[in-house]
Subunit: 389 residues, 2 copies
């Protein structure tokens, strides 16, 4: 059981393959997501500086919010009473909530893990809190996303095998408790739609642990999709790619695979090449706030003096609302003057860039040219990066 009605309300139809890359449609109670897809991150029920209209115009189909953050502020019960996430944030498309496993281990302080759950201090007010798989499922039921992630035990990327095994096995035991709790909790009436619980494959950079986790999890339920967690957390890139290949080789091919927290352009292309269907990352908005723009020729820092009189758009091939209307010179002026529109335009561009990149990947998979397209794309992206820095 992954939530009542989940079987009928969710579907994944693969309509093209090229090597390990797949093209498909992930159907949710709030509509479809063409995969591979990048999900914009709206941690606190808002994709920083962007509104739902901006996201729609950028082509985004699915967004992510965060159970840890929303539990602390404004409170998941308040979100429930306001009609759930979709209604509150004015986004009627698919939403996924991360469980907060990553945040408890990255943001909170003084955390103590025991078999039952985690005690931690809130990063906001220092209050002592406790998360258990059961509480997190209640939180995610209250938030009412389409896809909800299990509560897991996240560890640093370079952890040794013993630490990784302990955390991975605990995450699997917690998954069973999530599954039971999720089935036991009646969804709050305002939401009125099915939710699907996704498990998360952990195991660090240790292939045997990843394999064991993927197999154990696969046998627990007819999952609607799988999260791959604990990557892009400090490990070397080749390690990440190797683990992806191993995991995707054993996960059921007919279900979407979501590589959590990964979202630099080159990582998306490398991920699709290895069979990933969904991605998310704060990078496009966080980097946008800092003045960095993704381009086909690598990253660009708009604050640099060389852009003072540059009348080109951020990226010459980009059709986003920023690139079709504003020059680098103007956006640089906005940044130099601390004008909010600057970071908003870069955030918008970066989200659009990743969404459009996944659209190109889908086209290439459909045409059977993904291998050549992705290599050419990566070569161009990497070769000129040095001129931008």
């Amino acid at each position: 059981m992954t939530g009542e009605g989940a079987g009928a309300a969710f579907a994944f139809d693969i309509d093209g393959r090229d090597g390990d890359a797949r093209r498909g449609v992930f159907t949710t109670p709030h509509g479809r997501v063409d995969t591979p897809a990048f999900m914009a991150v709206g941690t606190l029920a808002t994709v920083k500086s962007l509104d739902p209209g901006d996201l729609t115009r950028a082509g985004a189909q699915m967004i992510l919010a965060n159970a840890y953050h929303l539990h602390l502020r404004p409170g998941d019960e308040l979100v429930r009473d306001l009609g759930g996430l979709h209604r509150s944030m004015g986004w009627n498309g698919p939403i996924l909530t991360d469980s907060g496993g990553f945040q408890v281990f990255s943001l909170a302080t003084l955390r103590t893990v025991d078999e039952d759950g985690v005690d931690f201090r809130s990063h906001l007010d220092g209050s002592i809190r406790r998360f258990t798989p059961e509480l997190v499922m209640a939180i995610e039921r209250n938030l009412g996303a389409d896809v909800v992630m299990q509560f897991d035990h996240v560890i640093p990327g370079q952890s040794d095998a013993a630490t990784a095994r302990d955390a991975s096995e605990r995450s699997i035991r917690w998954l069973q408790r999530c599954l039971d709790a999720f089935a036991d909790i009646t969804p709050p009436p305002p939401h009125g739609h099915a939710q699907a619980l996704f498990p998360i494959v952990q195991g660090g950079i240790h292939p045997e642990l990843r394999l064991e986790a993927a197999k154990a999890i696969g046998g627990m339920s007819d999952w609607r999709g799988f999260g791959i967690g604990g990557l892009s957390v400090g490990e070397a890139k080749p390690d990440m790619y190797r683990i992806l290949e191993i995991v995707n080789d054993v996960l059921p091919r007919e279900r979407p695979r979501y590589l959590m927290g990964v979202g630099f352009p080159e990582d998306l292309v490398e991920g699709v090449r290895r069979g990933v269907d969904l991605f998310d990352c704060v990078a496009p908005t966080r980097m946008g706030r800092n003045g960095a723009a993704f381009t086909s020729d690598g990253r660009l820092n708009i604050k640099r003096a060389e852009y003072r009189t540059d009348q080109r758009p951020l990226d010459e091939g980009c059709a986003c609302a920023a690139c079709t209307r504003f020059t680098r010179a103007y956006i640089r002026h906005l940044f130099v003057s601390d004008e909010m529109l600057g970071l908003r335009l870069l955030s918008l561009h970066n989200v659009h860039f990743l969404v459009a990149l996944m659209r190109s990947a889908r086209d290439a998979i459909g045409n059977g040219t993904f291998g050549a397209w992705s290599q050419r794309w990566l070569d161009r992206y990497h070769s000129r990066s040095s001129t931008y820095a």
Copy 2:
């Protein structure tokens, strides 16, 4: 002469009157402005947190930018080289530039006025600068707005008659120099459209000075419109209203009158009632950034605890992009969480609110019901303000 071609490129057609209130169409080289109208303020060539699409959707037709600020950053010559303000900021509608007279006297430090001009220290980097009427005309030619304001000598609202007379008479002498310089400066080729120079009537709260100024200015040229400056700068509201009545009684009726820097909702209604056609103010965006929203029932501070679970829109009668999509509870969450979307939504709402208010005023003038409509509007706005604070 108010700029070559200005006579043909600018027009003001009044199509309705009700008492002293007028309804009309102000035509500029970049299109029409239905008056009375509120102009959103984009000091640094950006209306803070909003993009041109937001402004168009809010119904804004004309925006304002500032010569003092843009001269300091990024530089008016750079704006010229980038094709002028319209092209740089992606706004193809009418633009007006204020001359910087107000900013030199409000923001800059250590200013010294002599008959030729003003020495001042830049508020940005402390550098010593000098503004003369001739330099300011060159700046405004470089920026390329449709309407450019004269450089004037601005004084505090409560200045005595001698101080006010000195500044007003100097402003008139500077106006003649602005007129001469404006005619002498060839508009930079990229702009390719006519610009109209507006004079500014000064004279503080002293009726005889205002009358003298209005008459002297009226005889100097066939102006396309008139600015009324030096109000809403610390004087009592009844003084402001009295001065407006006096000035508008002697200014040519067939030209638009622009009340500078005035833009709270009640001031707009009181201004229209006294024959004003154009307004501008930073209030909607500045207050929006601080959490204040205009409503038909007075101002509302969205950060207050009472809005935590309030599922109503900011203003129940408002059709703006914020009010049609988001609740007070959600926008309060955004403010409490320091999320940028919060101040953006309030800025958008406040600009829309003033634009829509002017649309209602136009309708009432057209229907011959402006007197009753404006009194009812003011009564409601003021009567419940105490419940919002």
